[in-house]
């Protein structure tokens, strides 16, 4: 599953984080964002029988048998980072300035929706840090 997330994350980076991506018309970029979001949603649905990714991680109650807390956290953070990668293309102020998006732009609804998703995901990701166990094997930068 992590491999699939990594593949999607790679696609997101190549399609949304390049200089070429920001030379496209905003409409094209928004369409790409929607497509990638759809792919992520499909991937999330495939994990759904095992783990619910879009709600805060409950280490006590919701972990299925056979998955450790560390593995669940890896999946959760892979999901969080991918969803942020996708939607911040439209919400970061400097991205908007490059694309010429304003609050009165016709695509404002999608931007507002993306901003809501980014805020919600950021909140859940920060709450999940309470489960991150820092020890000798914790990988950091």
């Amino acid at each position: 599953m992590l491999i699939k997330f990594a593949q999607l994350s790679s696609a997101v980076v190549s399609k949304l984080s390049s200089v070429r991506a920001f030379r496209q018309k905003p409409e094209v970029l928004v369409k790409t964002v929607c497509e990638l979001d759809e792919q992520l949603h499909t991937l999330k649905s495939s994990v759904q029988p095992i783990l619910t990714l879009d709600t805060p991680l409950d280490a006590v109650g919701s972990l299925p048998s056979g998955i450790t807390l560390q593995q669940a956290l890896y999946l959760h953070f892979a999901y969080y980072c991918t969803i942020l990668d996708i939607h911040t293309a439209l919400t970061l102020p400097w991205s908007r300035s490059i694309l010429g998006l304003t609050r009165h732009h016709p695509l404002a609804d999608q931007i507002k929706k993306s901003a809501g998703i980014v805020a919600k995901t950021s909140r859940i990701a920060i709450l999940a840090t309470k489960h991150v166990h820092i020890d000798a094997n914790t990988p950091v930068s």
Partner: protein, 195 residues
């Protein structure tokens, strides 16, 4: 690859991998993921400091800063992120200002709240919080090169001076091209805009 003894997990040794790619899946867990979330929540607060959710978002910023404080403790300050504490404090100041200042003018112009819309925005002194941070109202353009406009970033008090390759924050000068260790995606994006 320095190996340091950790107070928290003594007698174990905390392995610190330096120079790795921050987008690596494993790095997402303790460092990149929380930092990414914190930066985005910080931006959300600056964009909407008047929302009812802003107060709980400030608490979440503190929770995120606490995670990095724990990381700093566990690594004997090998990994020290003053950056997250600073953005948490800045977000709190922005929300406090939004509560105390009158609502923004109807024209939504980039300027002082409630002031004369034709008046020039005041020059911000280092360390002072701007009267209004209006990210939504920032009107950009499609030309990447000409979007090297420092107006937006000069509204943020930590960024006193910006040129093509460096940011000056107080006495520190940060290279935009080698700032992954300190500012991660925030500065990466800034680098994309400015360079």
């Amino acid at each position: 690859m320095p190996i340091r003894r950790s107070r928290e997990c003594s007698p174990c040794h905390l392995r610190i991998r330096t120079g790795s790619n921050l987008t690596n899946d494993h790095d997402r867990l303790a460092y990149f993921g929380p930092l990414y979330a914190l930066i985005n929540l910080f931006i959300h607060i600056l964009q909407h400091p008047e929302l009812p959710s802003a107060q709980s978002d400030l608490a979440l910023m503190d929770i995120g800063a606490a995670h990095f404080a724990r990381l700093e403790f566990a690594t004997d300050a090998e990994i020290s992120m003053a950056f997250v504490k600073e953005i948490a404090a800045l977000a709190r100041t922005a929300v406090r200002r939004a509560k105390t200042l009158p609502p923004r003018s109807i024209d939504g112009s980039l300027g002082v709240r409630g002031g004369d819309p034709l008046a020039q925005p005041p020059r911000h002194t280092p360390g002072a919080i701007p009267e209004q941070i209006d990210i939504d109202g920032f009107e950009g353009n499609k030309d990447v090169r000409s979007s090297r406009d420092t107006t937006f970033f000069s509204l943020f008090p930590p960024f006193e001076n910006i040129d093509k390759t460096h940011l000056t924050m107080g006495s520190r000068q940060i290279s935009l091209t080698s700032s992954w260790k300190t500012g991660a995606p925030f500065f990466q994006w800034m680098g994309l805009v400015i360079l």
